[in-house]
Structures are given as structure tokens and as C-alpha cells.
């Protein structure tokens, strides 16, 4: 890698950092141990900018940009933490809680949920928005797994891990707005779909939307750590 063409210098929160061309703002921030909250990003999967929690300010741009899908440019001045960003991130989280049923106390993922711990780390003690109280379906047709759309935050990790790592592309997404649903095949029952039953989608799901039936009533921690290893082996 030749330094003259491939190295970019920029500032994040007034700190000078260097990056390789093509890296995302999120990658560079994490390399430099500058925290940016995320829910849809997962190391080992492509980025889609679905959750919008990683929004950052970039000098010269009136719009906030998602750090996970914004590539670095020479001379960029990035702010990852400000009153404005905190306000937007908090509102995004509150909208996630208000959209569907996220009753932690009765959820299979209670205490092992990224949405729950994100709320705590952001100091969220209540949701100011009125809850929508909408009902979504639960598909328990698969012999081992269940999808509860009431818990889904549409991060699309399941879709990406199925397509990019398992290579099956059983999961996809349909509809728009609050009607969005992750679906198996063409909205076939999960149990009747072309699912390979590998279980990767369950392990990467940040909430209790996808869960293993055998774990209901017991702690259900998710283990997405396998992803970087699988990628490493694939590239070897």
C-alpha cells in the first residue's frame, strides 16, 4: 500500500487520525477507540446503515451521515458526539421502542439484548413518544427457531448473514415503513422455507426477534463472535 495515494488524514472529535482509502468513518473511529453507538453494524457483515444510530456530523455537510456507510475523505472533520447527535440518537432509540412491542420483562432475550443495553448506556429511562400498540405476527413453524416480528428492529443482520456467510439468502425484507417485515423466501412459513437451519441468523439477532425455542425460559445470550473467524477462514 503506497502512502502517497492510499492514506487519508482527517480529524475525529478534533483528534488527527489516519486511515486507508475506502475505510468507513466507523472503522476508523473504532480503530482509534472513539465510541460510536451502533445496532445494525456487526463485524464480519457488510454495512447497510439501517439503524441510523451511528450518525455523525461532518464539517461542510448540513446533513448527518451514518458513519458505517460513509467512506473517509482527505481532510474530513468529523464530530461523533454533540448535543444535536445525542438528541437524534435518543429519538431514534425511542422510536424503536415505540414502534413494536419491546416489553423486556417477558422477552426471551431479557438481559441479553442489544436494544435494552443500548437504552441503558444512553441513559434512556422512559419513552416520551406514545407507543403504537400494533400487533405483529409470530412465526413458530420452524422446528428449532421462532421469529417474533414484535421484537424486530429491522437491522437486517439476519438477511446479511444468511446471504453473505451462509450463502443461502433465505431471509429478505418486504413492505415499507412500520409494515416492514423480515421474511423467509417469498414470505413462506419459516418451517416450509429453503432455510438450511444453520442458526446463524439467531446468533446475530440483537434482540429477541429471532430465538431458539430450546432456550425459552432460560438465558438466551447471542453469540455473533463466530463471524470474523468464518471470514478469516474463507479468506485464507
Amino acid at each position: 500500500m503506497s502512502p502517497d495515494s492510499d492514506v487519508k488524514t482527517l480529524t475525529i472529535d478534533e483528534r488527527e487520525v489516519s486511515a486507508r482509502a475506502g475505510q468507513t468513518v466507523l472503522d476508523v473511529a473504532r480503530e482509534n477507540e472513539i465510541p460510536i453507538p451502533t445496532l445494525c453494524h456487526l463485524e464480519g457483515l457488510s454495512d447497510v446503515g439501517a439503524c441510523r444510530l451511528c450518525l455523525v456530523e461532518i464539517a461542510g455537510s448540513p446533513k448527518l451521515l451514518p458513519a458505517c456507510v460513509t467512506t473517509v475523505q482527505e481532510g474530513m472533520q468529523i464530530t461523533t458526539d454533540s448535543e444535536r447527535l445525542r438528541k437524534h440518537r435518543r429519538t431514534i432509540l425511542e422510536m424503536l421502542f415505540a414502534e413494536r412491542n419491546h416489553v423486556c420483562s417477558v422477552c426471551v432475550a431479557n438481559n441479553h439484548c442489544e436494544l435494552q443495553s443500548m437504552a441503558q448506556s444512553m441513559g434512556l429511562t422512559h419513552i416520551r413518544l406514545p407507543y403504537r400498540n400494533a400487533a405483529y405476527d409470530v412465526d413458530a413453524s420452524h422446528i428449532r427457531f421462532t421469529v417474533d416480528h414484535n421484537r424486530c428492529i429491522l437491522c437486517q443482520r439476519c438477511i446479511r448473514v444468511c446471504a453473505e456467510i451462509e450463502g443461502a439468502h433465505v431471509w429478505d425484507i418486504m413492505n415499507r415503513g412500520t409494515n416492514c417485515l423480515v421474511i423467509t423466501d417469498l414470505k413462506d412459513d419459516w418451517g416450509a422455507s429453503t432455510c438450511t437451519s444453520c442458526g446463524k441468523c439467531v446468533e446475530v439477532c440483537p434482540t429477541g426477534a429471532l430465538f431458539n425455542k430450546a432456550r425459552v425460559g432460560s438465558p438466551h445470550p447471542k453469540k455473533p463472535e463466530f463471524l470474523p473467524y468464518l471470514n478469516l477462514m474463507r479468506n485464507a
Partner: protein, 177 residues
Amino acid sequence: MSKLKLATVWLDGCSGCHMSFLDLDEKILELAALIDLVYSPLVDAREYPDMVDIALVEGAVASEADLEKIRKVRAHTKTLVAMGDCAVTGNVPAMRNPIGVEAIMKRAYIENATTQQQLPTLGLPKLLPIVQPIHQYVKVDVFLPGCPPSAQTFHAALTALIAGTPLDIPALTRFGA
């Protein structure tokens, strides 16, 4: 210094928050030196007093009686604490919201009843169309999530509220904790 007046209120919840509060065990004695419990399901007072310093409110607002009560509590309380997930988020009681009052009443009093299959008309407060957290109706000063908040959370929060010292709630508890 005169003692602070503490009230605890029970709306639509399972009383688990009150139980967890009682789990303070011997620390309740420390607390008793600093506060007077003037109104609570745990004491005899039937009328909410004129002025209360701190009110811990358990449960969501589910019925007309809950609504009347929470408005009265707010009017006569300096610091209103939403105690536990039902008060803070609606939690389990609010899970009836997508189903609707009519279907819920029918299931409870007609479909699942073996005798006297009829809807109650006397003695029960009317249910509101949806169950909502307290702050959708009145101003809440302190939100204490948890299902229930632990005894340690109650101790830390009450100690801070009584002493008037800063309170870092997310360090103590969270939704579903």
C-alpha cells in the same frame, strides 16, 4: 428536621415493586428514621393526604379509577416517582392494547367463565381503551425502570431523593431489570 412524607400508590401492576421495596429488609428501619409513610397499600390511610413529599407509584394507568387516582396524587405530591416498568412503559398490563377492551373482557368474564357468564356492571372501574404509562397523563419527576427495580435500586434512589443528592438511574437499573 421534620420527617419527609412518603406515599406509595398501586395502580395496574402486580405489586411486585412493593414486594421488592419491602425487600429492603433491615434498611427499612434506617428509612423509617427519615420518613413518615403517610399513604400506601401497606398502611390504613384511605384518603391521599394534602401534601406528600415523595410518592412511589407502581403500575400503569389502565382504568378510569387509576386515572382519577394518578391525577390526585400528582396534585398533592412534590416528587412523583414512576416505580417499575408498568408505571414507566406500560409493560405487561399494556400488552392488552392491541387486543382491545371488549375482547379482553369477553375472554375473562364469558369465554373462560364456567358460571355466571356476564360482564360486570357494578363495583368495577371502567377500563380505558388502552393502558398507558403514567407520564402520558401527568408529569413524572423520576423514572425508575425495572421489573421490579431491585431493593438496592430502591435504597440508592430513596437515599438520594431524601438527601437531595444527584441520582444516576441508568447506573442502577434498566427496562426489564
